[in-house]
């Protein structure tokens, strides 16, 4: 498991170094391209503010009122039996439906339970390794006017369930369940 941490640590710096060298070799105006691309980053960060404010306020209300605790108490035995921490259930429900809402929930879980806990790491991996099935289906099929999705929704949702199980196993295996 030590090895996985070492690879995780060196991967990004090496990749950045490689991209910069490759760009220089191909005579790309690296710094200017970097600045141009970076401007897009500001736009994205600012444009997700309303999504996150909406979702995080709603979750805060839900939790501060005690409703979340009540829900947890109710589903905890079932979830524990399956090895899933009850705290991540709202994230699991929202993940296929809305990417930005899920981002809000992931942030909330990391803020409350800490990034270096089982729940924090699981939320991190889940956010990174799954996607918004409903959004993808709606946008892509909508764009070309497909009305009959066939098995696409079933396949997408089953793949989501499978992806969630895989994420739990991988995180438990690499970091343990503390």
């Amino acid at each position: 498991m030590q090895l996985i941490s070492v690879i995780s640590l060196t991967f990004i710096p090496l990749l950045i170094g490689f991209i910069l060298l490759y760009g220089t070799f191909k005579q790309v105006p690296t710094y200017e391209s970097f600045v141009e691309g970076g401007k897009e980053g500001i736009k994205i960060a600012v444009s997700i503010i309303p999504f996150l404010v909406g979702m995080m306020v709603s979750i805060s209300i839900f939790r501060a009122s005690g409703a979340l605790d009540a829900l947890m108490k109710w589903i905890r035995p079932l979830m524990n039996a399956m090895g899933v921490p009850a705290e991540i259930v709202p994230l699991l429900i929202i993940r296929p439906i809305s990417g930005t809402a899920a981002l809000g929930m992931t942030s909330d879980l990391i803020a409350v339970y800490g990034p270096d806990t089982f729940i924090g790491r699981l939320a991190s991996v889940l956010q990174g390794s799954t996607d918004t099935t409903f959004y993808v289906l709606t946008v892509y099929f909508g764009a070309v006017g497909i009305k009959k999705m066939g098995d696409a929704l079933k396949v997408g949702l089953l793949a989501d369930v499978f992806g969630i199980i895989v994420a739990i196993i991988v995180v438990a295996f690499v970091f343990g369940t503390k």
Binding site: F11, G41, S60, S129, D131, T133, V155, F162
Partner: protein
């Protein structure tokens, strides 16, 4: 759907607060939650600017194009109904590569182009073709190499090692993408057996 969930959580929270007498906490939560969200987005700016800047270099140097070539033989096998030199193949590949590097904004238009090309192959009928279902299965499994946003969030909340989740995320994403392909194939063979 997200509209209902959003309203549901808020309303249940307020009703619960009425019954439980936790109104003071809820009042505080409204403003704390909003503040937290904005603080978080400002924290995200640093990583997003840096990563999208680096990715622009990868794009302009032709690195993404080379990767596309590298993956072509593999992807050809996933879409047996698409002729290898059809423009759909190029868009499918570019969409997957953009997704891998966390360039969601670049990936979506490419994905839509891919769907348009697949629709041409589909003969203009309004039900999904086999290739479309496969394409979307892979897309929803979302193969990620660098989960940029997640790293930024972990940094914001003082993780001892924000990037420690990179390799686990790659492992999880590869297994779940493989699973998505198997599930897709299973449904395809079930369909074709029924005729």
């Amino acid at each position: 759907m997200v509209n209902y969930i959003w309203v549901f959580m808020t309303i249940i929270g307020v009703v619960f607060a009425l019954i439980n007498g936790t109104m003071a906490e809820v009042n505080k939560a409204i403003f704390d939650g909003a503040k937290e969200a904005v603080t978080l987005c400002i924290g995200l700016i640093s990583v997003l600017v840096f990563w999208l800047g680096i990715m622009r270099i990868a794009e302009e140097s032709g690195l993404l194009k080379s990767l596309t070539k590298l993956f072509r033989p593999l992807v050809k096998r996933l879409f047996p109904e698409v002729p290898p030199n059809h423009p759909a193949m190029g868009y499918i590949l570019s969409n997957m590569i953009s997704n891998m590097f966390g360039l969601g904004n670049a990936a979506t238009p490419l994905g839509i182009k891919a769907m348009e090309e697949l629709q041409k192959l589909n003969g203009g009928i309004n039900s999904a073709s086999r290739s479309m279902v496969t394409f979307l299965a892979i897309n929803t499994a979302s193969i990620t190499i660098i989960p940029t946003t997640v790293i930024a969030i972990r940094m914001t909340y003082h993780s001892a090692s924000p990037t420690e989740i990179v390799v686990p995320t790659i492992i999880a994403t590869i297994i779940s993408a493989a699973g998505a392909i198997v599930i897709d194939r299973y449904f395809y063979y079930r369909r074709s057996r029924k005729g």
